[in-house]
Amino acid sequence: MKRMQPRQNNLGPRGWVWAGRYQMERYLYVLHRVTGLGLLLFGVIHLIMTTFFRIGDEDMWESTISVLHNPVLKVGAYLVAAGFVFHALNGLRLILQEFGFALGRPSPPVYPYKDALRKRRPWTVGMIGVIVALSAVLLYDFVSGGW
């Protein structure tokens, strides 16, 4: 009998975003990626702005700055700021946890199982609280004008 090839069943990149009802730490990872890519995009635009449009004369610079007064770009600026706050604070959590410093020691599993990251859930929630608070402060600053 001809040997059949098993069917590939990988979720692919869609599996990064949704693979079932998992807990929040998985979605923090997705958000870290999304904010990272968003910041990369902003970085490219900012680099172009501060080099190509900077070495010209004052008029070229002023016209570039005037483009930034567009409300869509202003909202984009807020998203960049909030994204940076998330990426930085979550990154700090990752640095601490990725080397096992903030995760505790291995312990024999006792049912119902609680793994190291779930045990550290209060800290993660605290971090999210700080992120939300800072984003709210930035939002207040944004809404009250001046950006």
């Binding site: 069943n9 599996g15 079932g20 730490e25 990872y29 946890q97 096992g100 291995p106 793994d115 990251l117």
Partner: protein, 276 residues
């Protein structure tokens, strides 16, 4: 007619038969379920009474062999260890574990997982090759040294962590949480002297650093192994090794079996005396 306590629930099972066309479809079966029935009981009922062509793996039916990993209502479970009533739903959807190739119906090909597991040298490696190959004495290990890796030794290679891992979802070359956790289990074992070799096996572009701490593996693991913790501790070992700061780990010493035996106990006094 259903007697009291029995409720009819619908099992929606993803089918795939390469010998009969190879289309992926969902079959629905009505199964009488009672409190205390596991998903495996439901699958066995279907196979025995409704459709004997349903293919799935099962062996110990007590969550120790790792055969029956399936995706139940979009979350990986061991079928034998999962109560039907815990879903609080009349529809139980059963699919094969993702991120592993499917052979038929709910049977997945675990070969990629075993190949990656073999690749990280999952055995004790000693400098003294002769002692390792033909041991004459035993290795001494204190309970503290045992507790460093014992949690990760409970792995039964069920593949559920790989099904949960987002990196395994897209990267077929990624070693996976199972192999990486077992790599740490052997590196942390005080009896082992091969951690330098083993660390170099995971120090590549599809090794330990492609783990991003989503920790879905630990969440889904049916044995409470916490592969995420093992991988992060492995990263610490990797970082220390790369910086040249790794402590010279003294491997567990060989201990001769005790030659002196305990003195023989005296014969006990007879408590019943027969009067002749």
């Amino acid at each position: 007619m259903t007697d009291s306590g029995t409720k009819e629930r619908r099992f929606r099972i993803q089918r795939y038969d390469p010998e009969k066309g190879g289309t992926v479809r969902v079959d629905e079966f009505v199964v009488p379920t009672r409190r205390g029935m596991t998903v495996l009981d439901g699958l066995l009922y279907i196979k025995e009474n409704l459709d004997s062509t349903l293919a799935f793996r099962t062996s110990c039916r007590m969550a120790i062999c790792g055969s029956c990993g399936v995706l139940v209502n979009d979350y990986p479970h061991l079928a034998c260890h999962t109560q039907i009533e815990e879903f609080r739903s009349d529809v139980i959807s059963v699919k094969p574990l993702p991120n592993l190739p499917v052979i038929k119906d709910l049977v997945v090909d675990l070969t990629p997982m075993f190949e990656k597991h073999k690749a990280i040298m999952p055995y004790i490696v000693r400098g003294d090759v002769e002692e390792m190959e033909s041991p004459t004495r035993e290795f001494g290990q204190t309970p503290e040294e045992l507790s460093e890796y014992l949690q990760f030794a409970y792995c039964m290679k069920c593949g559920i962590c790989i099904a949960a891992c987002p990196t395994s979802a897209s990267d077929v070359l990624f070693l996976g949480p199972q192999a990486l956790a077992q790599c740490y289990r052997y590196c942390a074992d005080s009896r082992d002297e091969g951690h330098r070799e083993r660390l170099r096996l995971v120090d590549n572009d599809h090794g330990a650093w492609r783990c991003h701490l989503a920790a879905a593996c630990s969440e889904a693991c049916p044995k409470g192994l916490d592969p995420a913790l093992a991988i992060q501790l492995l990263k610490r070992h990797l970082a220390l090794e790369a910086l040249g700061l790794s402590k010279k780990q003294r491997p567990a010493a060989v201990i001769s079996p005790p030659t002196e035996t305990k003195p023989k106990l005296p014969w006990p006094e007879f408590t019943v005396r027969v009067k002749r």
